[in-house]
C-alpha cells in the first residue's frame, strides 16, 4: 500500500509539471521556416514595404479533402481537390480556361484550326524550362496527351478526350504540335484543356511523377510525401512568367473538419481556405480579418435525375410538372444562404453567354397541377415517387427535403431515401430512376454531352434523343463561334423543355482569405487553383 501511494504522488507531481510545460507564454503560430528555402531576394524593386528583417513566410493554404495515401503529383488521375490544388502549382497546361470557359494562352502562345476544324496547330512558347533544366519541346506535349489516352492504360480523362487518337497527336517541329482528328472538333482548344491536361516531361512514368513532379509550373515540391503536414512548395526561380509567382513558398494543410478549418483561418494559422462549408459561412461573415470569396459564375450543379424511359417519368407532362413544382429561389435563399444561383434544368448557367434564356421562370403550382391532371394524377390519385439521395455535397439532403414539401402542395408524394454518401456513386446513381446528382462546371459542349448524349457513359436521365445528338454533332463541326453558340442554345432549350434533368440550382464556390492577402480568386472549377499572384502583406 505504501508503494502505491508513493507511486501515485510521483505521478501527481509529474503531471503538474506536464501541465505547467503545456502552457507556455511564448508567441503563438511559430514560423516553421524551412531551412532549405532560399532567402528573400533583395533585388526585387517592387513596392513591398514589409519589415525587411522578417523571414519570408510561406503562404499557407487549408485544404478540405484528404487524398490519404493515394495522394500523388501525377496528373494522370486527380480524384480530390487536395491533389488538384498541388498539381496546379507544379505544371502548366497548353492553355488556361477562365470562369466563362474562354481559353487563354499558357504554354501555347497561339493556335489555329484548318478550314473544317479537323487539324489544330499549336505554337509553343520558346525557352520554357522544366525545373530539372530541360527545355519544353513539342515532344513533351505529345507525350503528355498520348499518356492520357493510352488504350492500354487509359486515364480518367480518356473518355473526355475520346475525339483524340494517339496517331493524331504530332510534333511538327520542336515548338509546334498538331492535333489531327477524324471528325471536326470545333471546340478542341477548350476540350483539351481539361483538369488532367498538365504537361509533363517526355517519358516521365507514373512512379516518377507520383513523388517527384517535374513540371514548368510556378512552384517546386519539397520532399513530397503522400501524407504529410504541411506539403511544402518553393518558388520556381526560373519560372517563365516574369515577376511570378509572388509568394516565396507555399504550405498546404489538410484540415478535414469544417469547424477546425474555420478556426485555423481565424487564428491566422492558414491564409487561404480553399473550401468553406455553407454551414460555417455565417461565422466568417462577421470576422473583419477574413474576406469571403465566391465564384463569379456557377460552380457545381445540383440535379434531380429522372429516367425518361421509366414510369412515371416517361410521361413528358410529369417531368414538366416536377420542374414547375420546385421553388428554386427558396432553395437558394434557405438552403444555400444566397451562395447559389437559380438554374434552368440544363447544364448551362443562365448568366452564361451560351444560355438559351437568361431569366428562369418562377414556381408555377397551378401549371404543374394542370399537367399532372392531364397525366392522370390528382388529389385522389397522387403521384408517388422514391427519391434516392445522399449527403455527397452540402445542401443536397436539405434541398431534397424542401422539394418534398413543395411537391406535396401539388399532390406529389416524394419518399426520400437517404443513403450513405460513400455508397451513392457506386450503388445508387445510374441504378435508380430518380436520384440526386451533381456536376462540376464544364465547357458548354462537354456539359451538354457528358450525360445527355445517347452514347454517354453517365446517362443519368436515360435521355437518348437523336435530334439532340445531331445538334451537338453539328456544333462540334461548326467553326464559326456565333453559329456554334446558337446550336448550344437550341440543345439547352431542348433539355429544359423536355429533358429528364431537373436542375434547380448551381452552387457558388466559396473560399476564404485573410484580409491582408491578395491575388487569389476562387475559380469555378475546383480543379483550377491559381496561386501565381497570391501574396500576403505581413
Amino acid at each position: 500500500m505504501k508503494k502505491i501511494s508513493h507511486f501515485l504522488s510521483v505521478i501527481l507531481i509529474l503531471s503538474f509539471l506536464l501541465v505547467a510545460c503545456g502552457s507556455p507564454t511564448a508567441a503563438p503560430s511559430p514560423t516553421q521556416q524551412n531551412a532549405t528555402n532560399p532567402p528573400v531576394e533583395p533585388t526585387q524593386p517592387t513596392v513591398e514595404p514589409t519589415q525587411p528583417t522578417v523571414e519570408a513566410q510561406c503562404l499557407k493554404i487549408g485544404l478540405s479533402i484528404s487524398s490519404g495515401e493515394t495522394n500523388s503529383l501525377d496528373p494522370f488521375a486527380i480524384p480530390t481537390s487536395e491533389q488538384a490544388v498541388m498539381i496546379n502549382q507544379v505544371y502548366n497546361r497548353l492553355m488556361d480556361l477562365d470562369n466563362n470557359f474562354v481559353v487563354h494562352p499558357e504554354l501555347a502562345e497561339s493556335w489555329e484550326p484548318n478550314g473544317d476544324a479537323t487539324e489544330w496547330t499549336f505554337h509553343l512558347r520558346q525557352g520554357v524550362k522544366f525545373t530539372d533544366g530541360k527545355e519544353l519541346t513539342a515532344a513533351d506535349v505529345v507525350y503528355s496527351y498520348k499518356r492520357l489516352i493510352d488504350p492500354a492504360d487509359p486515364s480518367e480523362a480518356a473518355s473526355s478526350l475520346s475525339f483524340l487518337s494517339p496517331e493524331g497527336i504530332l510534333a511538327v517541329d520542336n515548338y509546334t504540335v498538331k492535333f489531327v482528328t477524324k471528325k471536326p472538333v470545333a471546340e478542341l482548344p477548350v476540350l483539351i484543356t481539361i483538369k488532367n491536361a498538365w504537361i509533363v516531361e517526355d517519358g516521365a512514368t507514373k512512379e516518377q511523377l507520383r513523388l517527384n513532379g517535374v513540371g514548368t509550373g510556378p512552384f517546386i515540391p519539397v520532399d513530397f510525401q503522400p501524407v504529410q503536414q504541411p506539403h511544402k512548395f518553393v518558388k520556381n526561380p526560373n519560372y517563365w512568367e516574369p515577376g511570378l509567382p509572388k509568394s516565396e513558398c507555399l504550405e498546404f494543410y489538410v484540415i478535414q473538419e469544417p469547424t477546425t478549418r474555420i478556426a485555423s483561418i481565424q487564428s491566422g494559422e492558414v491564409d487561404i481556405v480553399e473550401y468553406v462549408d455553407f454551414a460555417t459561412i455565417p461565422t466568417l461573415m462577421g470576422d473583419p480579418n477574413i474576406t469571403l470569396l465566391k465564384t463569379s459564375s456557377a460552380s457545381t450543379s445540383l440535379t434531380f435525375a429522372m429516367w425518361v424511359d421509366t414510369a412515371p417519368f416517361n410521361d413528358l407532362k410529369v417531368r414538366q410538372a416536377m420542374k414547375k413544382l420546385i421553388d428554386r429561389q427558396a432553395i437558394v435563399d434557405t438552403v444555400y444562404l444566397g451562395y447559389a444561383m437559380v438554374a434552368d434544368d440544363n447544364p448551362i448557367p443562365p448568366n452564361s453567354p451560351y444560355a438559351w434564356r437568361s431569366v428562369v421562370p418562377g414556381r408555377d403550382l397551378e401549371g404543374a397541377k394542370k399537367l399532372l391532371a392531364e397525366a392522370g394524377y390528382g388529389p385522389d390519385n397522387p403521384l408517388k415517387v422514391d427519391l434516392y439521395t445522399a449527403d455527397f455535397m452540402p445542401g443536397v439532403v436539405a434541398a431534397a427535403q424542401m422539394f418534398k414539401e413543395q411537391a406535396a402542395e401539388g399532390n406529389v408524394e416524394i419518399n426520400i431515401i437517404v443513403g450513405p454518401s460513400a455508397d451513392h456513386w457506386s450503388n445508387v446513381w445510374l441504378k435508380q430512376p430518380f436520384v440526386n446528382s451533381g456536376w462540376d462546371p464544364r465547357p458548354p459542349g462537354e456539359a451538354l454531352a457528358i450525360c445527355y448524349r445517347s452514347d454517354a457513359l453517365y446517362a443519368e436521365t436515360h435521355w437518348k434523343v437523336p435530334a439532340y445528338d445531331a445538334l451537338l454533332d453539328e456544333a462540334n463541326t461548326t467553326v464559326d463561334p456565333s453559329q456554334r453558340t446558337a446550336l448550344y442554345k437550341q440543345a439547352g432549350q431542348m433539355l429544359t423543355e423536355q429533358g429528364g434533368e431537373l436542375i434547380p440550382i448551381f452552387t457558388l464556390g466559396v473560399a476564404a482569405m485573410r484580409s491582408n492577402c491578395t491575388g487569389y480568386e476562387r475559380h469555378i472549377q475546383s480543379g483550377r487553383f491559381d496561386l501565381r499572384y497570391a501574396t500576403c502583406n505581413r
Binding site: L12, S15, L18, G68, V227, P420
Partner: protein, 315 residues
Amino acid sequence: MIGKLIFTRLILAVVTLLVVSILIFWTAEVLPGDIAARVLGRESTAQAREVFRAKLHLDRPIIQRYGIWLGGIIRGDFGQSLVNDRKVVDTIGPRLKNTLIIGLVAFALYLPVTILLASLAAVYRDRPIDSFISLLTLIGLSMPEFVSGTILLFFFAVAIPIFPVMALIDNAKSPLEALRILALPAITLMIIMSVYAIRMLRDNLIEVLDSEYIRMADLKGMSRRQVILRHALPNAIIPALNVTSLNLAYLIGGVVLVERVFSYPGLGSLLVDSILLRDVPVIEAVTLIVASIYIFANLFADVMTMILNPRLRYG
C-alpha cells in the same frame, strides 16, 4: 495460483481476438461500395477496374482469403495497402506512435486530475466544492468530445491564441513544443475520460471513508491527508481500475473525433481515411490493433485487480 489464473485469462483473450479477427474480416468484406470504383475514382473505366480486381485476387473465396490474411498476421505481415504499394505496417507505424504519444499525455493528465478531484469531492462531501465538481462532471458527461474539443479550440486557439489549432505533432521541433501542440487534444481526451471516473472514484471513496478502519486511523491520530493517501485511496481505487482500463482502450481507438477536430495524424484519422478509400488491409489491421489493445487493457486491469485484492485470487 495467480500464474495459472493469468494463463487462463490469456488463453481466453487470444480466443476472443480470433473471433474478433473473423468479425473484422467479414465486416470489411461487406463494406458498401465497389472497392475498385472507390480507389480508382468515379470516372474510371470498367477496364481499369477489372485489372485492379484481378490484381487483388478479389475473385477468390472469402475463406481462402481469410486464411492467407491470418497467416500473414501471425508472421507479422499485415499485407500491402490497396491505395499505395507500401506495406500496411509502414503506413500504420507512425500513426500508432502518434496515437500512443497523445494517449500517454492524456493518461498522464487523467490520473492526477481524477484522483485530485474525486478526493476533494469525497472529503468535502455535500459542500459547495463537491457540488461544483459534480456539476463539472455532469457537463463533461453530457458533452460529446467533439463539442468540448471545438469549444476548447475556439477559446484557447482562436480567442486567446496560446495553443495551435492544428495539432501537427510531426512538425514539433522540441519536446516542449510538442507538449504545447498536444495540450488541447490531450485535455479534451482527459475530460471525456475523467468525468465518469471522477464520479465513480468519489462514491467509492465516500464508502471507504465511512468504514471502520478509516475511523481507526483517524482515531489513532493520523493526518487527514495521510489517511486518504495511505488507506482510503488504495482501497477505493480498485473498482475504478476497470473504468480506467476501458478508458485506456478508448484512448487508442475512440479518439477518431478528437483527432479530426484537431487534425491530429493518429490511428483514428487513418482509419477514417482508409474507410473512405476502401483500403481494406489497412482497415483490418487498424481494427485488429485497436481490438487487441482493448482486450489486453482489460486483461491487465483484471490482473491488477487480482493483485490488489487478495480475495479475488481464488475466485
